[in-house]
Amino acid sequence: MADAPKLVNLTVDGKAITAPAGTLLIDACKNAGIEIPSFCYYPGLSVQGACRMCLVKIEKMPKLQTSCTTVVGEGMVVTTENDEIHQARKSMLELVLANHPLDCPVCDAGGQCELQDMTFTYGAAESKFVDIKNHRDEQQWSPVVYFDRPRCILCYRCVRVCGEGMDVWALGIQQRGVSSVIAPNMEDHLECEECGMCIDICPVGALTSGAYRYKTRPWEMNHVATVCTHCGDGCVTTLGVRRSDTGMEIMRGDNRDKSGINGDFLCIKGRYAFDFSKEPERITVPLIRRNSKLEPATWEAAFELIASKLKEVRDRDGGQAIGVIGSNRTTNEENYLLQKFARLVLATNNIDHHRTADYPGFVSALAGTQNMTASMRDVASAPAILLIGNDPTEQHPLLAWQIRNNVRLNKARLYTVNSNQIKLRRQSTVFHLISAGSEGAFAQFLVGNDSAASSVGDPQALNSLRDKLRGEQGLVIAFGSEIRGEHIKPLVQFAQSVGAKLICLGDYANSRGAADMGLYPDLLPGYYPVSQLTGSKDEDWMGKAPKQPGLTLQEMFSAAAGGRLRALYVVGSNPVARYNLDPFALKNTFTVVQDMFLTETATLADVVLPAANAYEKGGTFTNTCGDLQRLQKAGDVTTVKSDFEIIVRIANAMGYDVHGLVPFAPGLRADMGQTRGAESGEADRHKVWLTRQGIEPKLSPFDPLALLDEIQRLVPGYEVSRLNLMAGNDQHTQVPDIGSGELPSHPELIVPSEDTLFTSGTLGRYSKTLNSVMENDRAVPEDAGIPAD
């Protein structure tokens, strides 16, 4: 590790401060609590010196100097505010406002505009100019990006974030002088990643989003920081939410306050693809099959039917005749509850989910080690990264962002081993192209199995790569689902030998959580094998959990086809499409599906229940790195219910004591705001039911966080700081140390989502924004299945 840089002493506004050598004056001041105004300066992007707002007086320099381009110097004496500086800034504002349309009353940025704020600070609101302003018409560059030149102050932030930050370089500057104009790469439109970073970074309202523009004002919304529901990276997205006739409407997503692991980064999905929630095709009432048609029904009727059928099958054929399929997009609490429901209420271990990574294999390989997983934050600061398989630019956009920034800002070394010319090769110190399917052999080679090299590529290049990797300290190794089963172990061994940390990449927002929470036929939460349930472990499950491993997802379908599976409960999953299963298998199986849309699986069901999505509920998600984060409910949508509530209600209708499922009681209450939904009439709905059950209405069994205590107690690695978690901080969980032995992992069941930047399983199919951008149809592998889950 390099030595910490030397400290420099300087005086700012009479205050002695220190800063590491090489720090920009503007940053040194900010760290010392002295804010210097700026437009063009943006931390992490190259410096421009263009807006001249950050001018300060430095002793011995005749002219005012830009603090964003000046590096701190020993003994420097700086004044950041005096009459001359004030006047300089004021006149800068007067000039930039001279051509500004001043349409604040209708501008999207009004109320959160840096130019407005600055104008108030410097009192430059009165114009000295009487001449006519320059005008240009607004342009639409893509379904999501609009540009209004008159509002642009030419700070070039958009150009830089697109180029330097995203490595897309789709924006540039055309013309010169007062005719200068930001321009898109395709002359009159954009072809890019459509991430919208340019829009969010724009200090004014020059770039606006097609999804949000002119719909509302910042102060008319609630701003709720929650976790993106798409890929497995776990970006915090701050949703702007307004009340509507259906309860609430999400108006926009951004992360301007840089809360969370992603800073201000969001890809197109986190920023715009919340729109599936208001798709007209969304199911809003329970549907029951009558005369082979799905017809609207009441929740009560649906619960009654489901409860009686499940009870009937359980009591007649035993739990092994019932199957449960969980979701990669439901919360940890819901997943935990679902497996608990399956095991204790339905008395079955037939529970599984769509697997996108070999987490049990990962946990097995890590047995006997400690602290060997890396967090998403580590990726942004590690001195070196080894990436094997996967294409993060498409599948893990945040991971790709972290890697790019680390390479660009910290000169981190990226070693990439891939069977495709993935885009991150541009950041790679070493890019090694291998033949598809030889990722595992590469892992073997890393631990000294030289004969494995022959199938991977040029031995000389491989040797030199391995030598370099052996010399890296603080390496982070991220690997895609290409590495699974037996191949994970050598990788862990290599990591151990160099002190590296690992990330096992899985798709979807909570696939890691689904695995950690035991959506497996043979593993309980925390990867505890059902076959080993004895003693106190058994007591954790009240001695009632079945100890025979159950059926995997595919086995369930075979059992259904063979008439042995009589009931199937599918929560937020579309196995029929994803695994390309025979729809007729379910002909004689009573099937319940909880979803937002009539998916290929839902259309086969006997009962379909309209579920809330991740933006409509609280709870926690675990991202692909194992970072645990809190979800906050943006608001309630009338007529749908969270998966959590639905499960509790079914258990209740089956006559199960709900206290045994969700340990809610006075004192356990974590967050009162969670399910009350005071804004939408939810409160009454709950209160009526709760009162009928003789339950004190303030302590809700529908509160996912009521389960968090139990999860934290029973799932090793989840004993993180509750306070931090509740405060919205990401908390890295470690994988449980299983000591010795192998966990059943079924690598053959792993099916990657094959999502691109512009697809996102089922949700993506119902996102107008994702479908409207022209880049949407690019790069989908030919053999990719139907996007599902």
Partner: protein, 442 residues
């Protein structure tokens, strides 16, 4: 091609081969061509730099920085290649001297570039020629090819065992790329936008390598210094202002043209003797002494030595040597407008004060001169220009602000004469606009 003028007061150093066909390499050789570089090949780099320091040669591009000093800033050791850059972007209104050198004596520029290269340890030189000077690039291309053909350029120059390459590069029509760092951006194929300084070109310049950038005339002055000595050159001018300059006398005089005169030559003499006096029997009103960006001098301020330091003391600049002489029939509002039109058009647009400031100055002055001026405009124009000065990203903003400030200050009465619908006293036809009808505009 421009007609040549001459006057007995001239001291011909840089212009000594003008009109003698020296673009032809044989002719150039007959006239002492390529002797200086051969001498320099035998000199220690430090000795070359010292000779140039002794000569008190100061940059002819505008800023007047001491050339020897500039060269000495280049680090001796460098991991990246070093470069010599010749700035032939000459676009400052009133300035038209580099084109004569490039036309009549291109080899002297090549030779100057080579000597600078030997001094700083560079092996590559670029000659950047203003886009509109296309005919000069044809001449330069031939001159470079001829020098290669003779073995003066390329591998093993003059059999010395050393290599030196020279390339010319054409501009694309922007005054701003005359600014040294914008020129390097342009040469690298990017938009002509200046760079943040520091680092200065001497340390991080073209393609990231240490770079010396000099004006055409500066470099053309180098071979005579090497041949005849720094002391001789220094003695031609005034202290710290060595040598001669090509003064471009233009505007309202009888004999406009480019004259080579010792640095420090008296301005009034320049106008009356060398330039043949004000035309049409009129009187002198004002002079812009060093290209359009310099603060203006009123007639009574013109009895002054034309060197960097004296003009600086008088609140103006020697700049690039473009002497713009205005007679007493000149409308100063129109002159201010004409000047600002140029800078508004040429602003690269990178920074707020220059981009917006020049545009609003142009708008205000256009309206003002057209008869729709308001009283508060005079102060506003002054206010705008003063708030640009010293706060822009590069010196173009200053170049626009300085003349404006000085014109408003020194000729405020002429602005007042234009006020409120009154016709321009010098050109009544110019009134085309009505007063803007705006609430509170007065």
């Amino acid at each position: 091609m421009a007609d040549l003028v001459s006057h007995p007061a001239e001291v011909k150093v840089v212009s000594k081969r003008f009109g003698k066909g020296a673009a032809n390499i044989d002719r150039y050789l007959e006239l002492d061509g390529y002797k200086a570089v051969q001498k320099a090949l035998g000199m220690d780099p430090d000795a070359i730099i010292n000779e140039v320091k002794t000569s008190a040669l100061r940059g002819r591009g505008g800023a007047g920085f001491a050339t020897g000093m500039k060269w000495s800033f280049v680090p001796k050791q460098s991991a990246k290649p070093k470069y010599v850059l010749c700035n032939g972007d000459e676009s400052e209104p009133g300035t038209c001297k580099d084109r004569l050198i490039l036309e009549h004596d291109p080899h002297s520029v090549i030779e100057g570039v080579m000597i600078a290269g030997l001094a700083i340890g560079a092996r590559i030189g670029y000659i950047y020629i203003r886009g509109e000077y296309r005919y000069l690039s044809v001449i330069m291309e031939k001159a470079i090819a001829d020098a290669y053909a003779r073995g003066f350029l390329g591998k093993n120059i003059f059999g010395s065992g050393r290599d030196f390459d020279v390339y010319w590069h054409g501009g694309a029509g922007a005054y701003e790329v005359g600014e040294e760092s914008a020129l390097m951006e342009s040469l690298e194929g990017k938009r002509g936008i200046p760079r943040i300084k520091p680092p200065f070109p001497a340390v991080v310049g073209l393609f990231g390598g240490p770079t010396v950038i000099n004006n055409v005339e500066t470099l053309a002055s180098v071979p005579p210094i090497i041949l005849q000595g720094g002391e001789w050159f220094a003695s031609l001018g005034t202290p710290k202002n060595g040598g001669t300059r090509l003064y471009c006398l233009n505007g309202h005089i009888n004999n406009p043209g480019v004259y080579e005169l010792p640095v420090g030559f008296n301005l009034l003499r320049m106008i009356n003797e060398v330039g043949g006096g004000i035309w049409k029997g009129r009187k002198l009103k004002a002079v812009t002494p060093g290209g359009s960006s310099c603060p203006i001098l009123k007639a009574e301020e013109c009895d002054i030595a034309m060197d960097f330091d004296t003009l600086m003391k008088a609140g103006s600049m020697l700049g690039s040597g473009g002497v713009v002489i205005l007679d007493d029939q000149t409308c100063m509002v129109k002159y201010a407008l004409r000047t600002i039109k140029f800078y508004q058009h040429e602003s690269c647009g990178w920074c707020i004060p220059c981009r917006e400031g020049t545009d609003w100055l142009k708008k205000s002055l256009t309206r003002f001169h057209a008869g729709a001026g308001l009283k508060k405009d005079i102060d506003n124009i002054q206010y705008l220009a003063e708030n640009m000065l010293g706060r822009t990203f590069c010196a173009l903003g200053d170049a626009a602000a300085m003349p404006t400030i000085s014109i408003v200050k020194k000729f405020r009465n002429e602005f007042e004469d234009h006020l409120e619908g009154r016709p321009c006293p010098y050109d009544p036809e110019a009134v085309t606009q009505q007063l803007p009808v705006l609430a509170g505009a007065h």
